[in-house]
């Protein structure tokens, strides 16, 4: 159950789960087709989800602190093949290698099926390399689904500790320290065991992709796996493996009167105070 403590080496092997998503800056262009109840997101370019970038940046910083030459940062994504350039971008940001899981069988997966698939891939990568990743990092919450499930669920499949909402991450002499933000308090945890950590947006500011990074990415491996390449029960992947099933989508209804509150800022101020008094406050 316990992996050996990493007292014999201080460098880190980290895997980052990255998610290609429609550009959140263009989210107002997303429309719902009322007739079919489906989302229309054609024409919206894909980007690496912002929190995934934070996770990758955190991994790169930990690797640099522990000794970049001996450390290794890999990225993993489950996405259609067209999103391949997002993984190249992750390599250009500084990851050493990338793995992409693409297969029709994976389509329509909810977080349960997605995390199952990702966990099998993590195991396969670890088997091939002959080690267990010190950390698996991910964004806590993605900008499209926003469930905050995948990091936790992937950890469950792997049987590892998970900590989400981590806003600060550091390593010293092989001991990882994670600060988790909850509503009332900040909780600091320390450990040496392999864990899955979900980071928040404010943990760091992700570095830019530079021209040199793009050149270096040319030589870094990007491996594509289909369902056949993983030891996987396809009944647990994709839509078929998803315990949640989607129904119709619609745009939220929020119609209110929109009555004008005054013709000048002073009138508006008076109107606001009137409303507050009327509410008994």
């Amino acid at each position: 159950m316990h992996s050996p403590r990493r007292s014999h080496h201080l460098f880190m092997n980290i895997l980052v789960l990255v998610k290609p998503v429609p550009d959140p800056e263009r989210e107002k262009d997303i429309k719902v087709d009322v007739a079919s109840g489906r989302l229309i997101r054609e024409g919206i370019p894909m980007v690496i989800d912002p929190e995934s970038r934070n996770a990758l940046e955190a991994a790169l910083q930990l690797a640099e602190k522990s000794g970049r030459e001996q450390s290794a940062v890999a990225v993993l994504a489950m996405a259609p093949e067209q999103a391949r350039d997002k993984l190249t971008e992750a390599l250009a940001m500084g990851a050493d290698e990338a793995y992409m899981l693409s297969d029709r069988a994976f389509g329509g997966a909810d977080t349960f099926a997605t995390s199952y698939t990702l966990a099998q891939a993590v195991r396969k990568i670890e088997d091939e390399k002959g080690f267990v990743f010190d950390l698996v990092l991910a964004g806590t919450s993605s900008s499209d689904g926003g469930t905050s499930h995948v990091a936790v669920q992937t950890a469950e499949w792997l049987g590892r500790t998970h900590i989400s909402n981590v806003c600060s991450l550091d390593v010293n002499d092989g001991v990882v320290r994670a600060v988790k933000r909850s509503e009332e308090v900040m909780l600091s945890f320390e450990g040496e065991e392999p864990a899955v950590i979900g980071v928040t947006r404010d943990i760091n500011r992700p570095r830019f992709v530079t021209a040199m990074g793009i050149i270096k990415a040319r030589k870094r491996p990007l491996t594509l796996w289909s369902a056949d390449d993983l030891e996987i029960d396809t009944m647990r992947t994709g839509l078929v493996g998803s315990p949640t099933r989607p129904g119709r989508m619609f745009e939220p209804e929020q119609k209110r009167a929109g009555e004008t509150i005054g013709d000048t800022p002073e009138e508006a101020a008076a109107g606001i105070l009137r409303i507050i008094r009327k509410a008994g406050l």
């Binding site: 959140p24 107002k28 997303i30 349960f112 900008s143 669920q153 990882v176 509503e183 209110r256 508006a268």
Partner: protein
């Protein structure tokens, strides 16, 4: 899963008022039929996941409701894998559709769209799990004393009491194999905007830290709480993360909500839908927020804030 098949509902009470909101909502949707069980683990968060798992196996509910707090957001998906069941995250509504099936309404793309999802194979002992943000559902008028659920028809599993009596061992505080080494209070604990009757919220249209500071002063003078949108938070004017209203932030239900310089991006409006009265001030006459507001004023935010500060004195 058909609503009529729900015989038992388990609610997780971690000390946040959300548990009483979930209980009220469940009663509204299911009525007298099911048995309501509340697992209370307010001071024993590190045991929450283990206790929930044990009690789900013991109680075999068809539905589990968990508040989407930092803790809840970790417990719910973990249970989802352990019980091989679906988890509906951040529900904005839970309802029964025309066919009698239980549907969960969840946001996507930060609230730009909402969709219904189903958990068809949920059953006793393999419950559907739904998480809901605090403040999304209202508290019942007769909430009474939330502390011991006096007057509420539910059975309580008191993990806190069991732990105090030594019936279960706390163990060392930990998260999995990681040990907790420090707990420090936050500067602005989240309670601020959750309970406020008046919320004064600032968006990117405020334009500067100077105007944000004026807004904070206004909130204080009105006896309310200051809040912000994601965009204002990212601008770095000093608003606190826990005062951000939106799908990735908090949902609020004040009596009066006044927004300044907010355009009305869906993820924000989702968070204020529960307010009694929404007043919006924005210099852009076409701002989306006006369609979601009871009162609108097309003015420069700073001018109205200044006018209010002058009026109040």
């Amino acid at each position: 899963m058909k609503a009529e098949n729900v015989r038992k509902i388990l609610i997780f009470d971690q000390g946040d008022p959300v548990a009483i909101q979930l209980l009220a909502k469940a009663e509204e949707v299911f009525g007298d039929g099911p048995e309501y069980v509340v697992l209370r683990a307010r001071g024993t968060h590190n045991l929450a996941l283990t206790m929930m798992e044990e009690n789900i196996r013991g109680e075999e509910p068809e539905l589990v409701l968990i508040g989407a707090t930092a803790l809840g957001e970790e417990i719910a998906p973990a249970l989802g894998v352990r019980f091989e069941t679906g988890v509906a995250a951040h529900c904005v509504d839970i309802r029964v559709n025309e066919e009698g099936r239980l549907a969960y309404v969840i946001p996507a793309f930060g609230g730009r769209a909402v969709g219904e999802i189903f958990i068809p194979d949920a059953a006793a002992g393999r419950p559907a799990i739904a998480t809901v943000k605090p403040g999304m559902f209202p508290e019942p008028a007769d909430a009474g004393n939330c502390d011991d659920y006096a007057g509420q028809r539910c059975r309580i599993i008191d993990v806190d009491a069991m732990a105090a009596d030594g019936e279960i061992s706390h163990g060392s505080k930990a998260q999995g194999a990681f040990r907790m080494v420090e707990v420090s209070p936050r500067e602005h604990p989240a309670g601020n905007i959750a309970d406020a009757d008046i919320i004064v919220c600032g968006g990117y249209g405020l334009g500067s830290e100077e105007v944000w500071r004026k807004l904070e002063k206004l909130a204080e003078k009105l006896g309310g709480a200051a809040a912000c949108t994601r965009a204002a938070l990212d601008a770095g004017w000093g608003c606190a993360e826990e005062s951000m209203i939106g799908t990735s932030g908090r949902a609020v239900r004040p009596k009066v909500y006044i927004g300044f310089g907010i355009s009305g991006a869906a993820h924000h409006t989702c968070g204020i839908a529960g307010a009694d009265t929404i007043i919006s001030i924005n210099s852009d006459g076409d701002a989306e927020i006006f369609a979601a507001s009871d009162y609108k004023g097309v003015f420069d935010a700073e001018k109205v804030i200044d006018a209010l500060l002058r009026e109040i004195g």
